[in-house]
Symmetry: C2
Subunit: 391 residues, 2 copies
């Protein structure tokens, strides 16, 4: 156990560091090193029950933190542009991915999972590029960041529905409608009941005269994160759906900044290990010419669908800005990998398809930054109106 964790952690951090220095996303380095030390190549780490449960815990924390950094207010600020970008940017990839898989005669469950894996934007990569070139204050940046929030919520809803459908087995329209209603009810109730409760509770935990080590606000957050994940699984949603909404509940509290700092070491310990494990699951032997071809096809669909969907949504801002926004939304990353990983461990998608989806996530994540930088550099992008003064 110690050996496995040591290997996974050290290789994750070394690869992440290397890729960060190469100005590439750390997550790509983590996946590739997983492929290297996994059963396909060096065979240093093999899957144990402990590691898969450990990875599951890691992804629950990851989605909690994504939720914690999702500020619903951003949505209202950037308004209709973000909403249009997000909705079209979810519908287009899901539909294109689903129909591609159906056309290739894959089972409906697989098609649904590929569609879902194509929906979620990994905004971290784009945000990093925007911040590198000092363009975080532009309209383009605001629209992208706002859309990504919306995207995450829609993506989680899509995942909630399809994972429930896949567990149920059948895919009848009333069943989907029921599950969608259940998923939406979970989110709405979580926010309606949980938000006021958390906003009322968390200041009390904050002020509690305890030694810093006991960190009561952190304890409350971890308890809710685990509790919501559990609740989600009991109504047959994925655990990460619950974790994500638990995170959202804390996102707007006064304690959010402190809580984010407390979650950082948890992130730094669990999350890189999760992505290395994602990489170890990729079986190189599955990459036959056919798989490579379909993988490239999925990647193409992934790029085009976001470019078209998001670009169309952003068209009122002008063609150049629409193109920038479209490319900014291309990287899949964390959430796409989480969906693929869930599909694989539940036996819903095949090993082949898993490898293709990971390939798509890796390529889109590597592709976006070099395409984005020239679009951002020369143009005088309009600055966003200041958000000061608005509540």
């Amino acid at each position: 156990m110690l050996l496995d964790l040591f290997l996974l952690f050290v290789s994750a951090r070394l690869a992440g560091e290397l890729f960060a220095r190469l100005r590439q996303p750390a997550v790509v380095g983590e996946i590739l090193v997983g492929l290297l030390i996994g059963p396909s190549l060096l065979g240093l780490v093999r899957e144990t029950e402990f590691l898969s449960l450990f990875a599951e815990l890691g992804v629950v924390f990851l989605l909690f933190i994504v939720g914690l950094e999702t500020n619903p207010r951003e949505l209202w600020r950037v308004g209709r542009h973000s909403a249009a970008v997000a909705v079209l940017g979810v519908v287009a990839p899901f539909a294109l991915g689903y129909f591609l898989m159906q056309a290739l005669h894959h089972p409906t469950n697989e098609a649904l999972f590929v569609g879902a894996a194509l929906t979620a934007t990994s905004v971290g990569i784009t945000a990093r590029v925007l911040s590198d070139v000092g363009k975080l204050g532009t309209v383009v940046a605001r629209v992208i960041l706002g859309a990504a929030v919306f995207d995450d919520i829609l993506g989680i809803l899509v995942l909630a529905v399809i994972s429930a459908v896949a567990t149920e087995g059948g895919v009848s329209l009333p069943a989907i409608a029921l599950l969608a209603a259940e998923a939406i009810a979970f989110c709405v109730l979580a926010v309606l009941i949980g938000r006021p409760a958390v906003h009322r509770l968390s200041p009390r935990f904050w002020r509690h005269p305890q030694e810093a080590r006991r960190n009561p606000i952190f304890a409350l957050a971890v308890a809710l994160c685990l509790g919501f994940s559990l609740l989600a699984t009991t109504i047959k949603l994925a655990a990460i759906v619950g974790a994500f909404f638990a995170g959202i509940l804390f996102a707007e509290t006064r304690e959010a900044a402190e809580l984010r700092r407390s979650m950082d070491p948890i992130y730094a310990f669990f999350v890189p290990i999760f992505f290395v494990i994602v990489g170890t699951h990729v079986a190189l032997t599955t990459f036959t010419p056919t798989v490579l071809l379909i993988g490239l096809l999925i990647t193409l669909i992934a790029v085009l669908s976001k470019l078209l969907g998001c670009g169309l949504g952003a068209l009122p801002l002008g063609r150049r800005q629409a193109l920038t926004i479209g490319i900014g939304m291309v990287p899949r990353g964390e959430v796409g990998l989480v969906v693929a990983s869930l599909g694989l461990t539940r036996g819903i998608i095949s090993q082949d398809l898993y490898s293709m989806v990971v390939m798509m996530c890796v390529i889109t994540s590597i592709l976006a930054p070099p395409l984005l930088r020239p679009l951002l550099r020369p143009a005088q992008l309009p600055a966003a109106p200041s958000a000061e003064g608005r509540p």
Copy 2:
């Protein structure tokens, strides 16, 4: 897995909070709630492979943090008094515990483990009391804190030797000497090679222009903590011995304060769960009248041996101060429980003896604060000479 973790974490934190409000050590609350939800009473949580590995990871982090807070320089400041208190406070409990078990016809391995579990002072409880009554600046407090550092190091050495002896099976004098030499060599080499390396490396990690989330100094610390634990197990020492020394390496770096803050959430997540699991291992059915009687006898030995050993060491400071220091060193806690837990999971000590040792740790931890407070309150304890100006 989520259900187990949720139950363990929430009950740990609620019990810890309750005991903290009752001015009792949180660790006592965590053990007792473990007893409550464990197989003995409610049976809500049962031991799984995941949970035992998770607890093992928790205790590795715990000992790393104990090491990180162990400042070897404190030893020189308080000088000979602390050293005398520490050495006599380790020798007396070990010897008395060992001979008591031998007299009761327990196997030698068990006697060694009980002796070891009796050695280590849990200074956290006493430090809390001293800080509550504002006496942290007194000679008594300095001597206690300094002795506790020495105590931890001696305790870890004792543990290193006896756990290796127990794994080897036989207990021949040359074998013990060899293992003691091995343990001491490990510590000396770790400090001689590791300390300059860490002192040279850690500022580079600190200054590295990375986003806070990647937290490179934390990554280095976790990597060394896991790596040293692994190294210790490969030379048949306990993993926690390695973790403890990895912590010591960082204790005097400039980055130590930042690192402690980063380790806090790791502590807050893993450590309470570890102590609840310690509690779940106590089988109530083992508490026959005989076991209770021997348990009380061990507890009596635990109190008297520290009182005599440490008191004798502190006698040059006057009888009242010697008594205060003796009582301040009485609480066993974390390290005693870690030793017992290690003995149980390795099948070296029986379930009966495990329950007795846990009982001893709980009673000594509850006993010390109420005895200590009156001794501290009325007397004008001499203040320690200021340590300012010394390097």
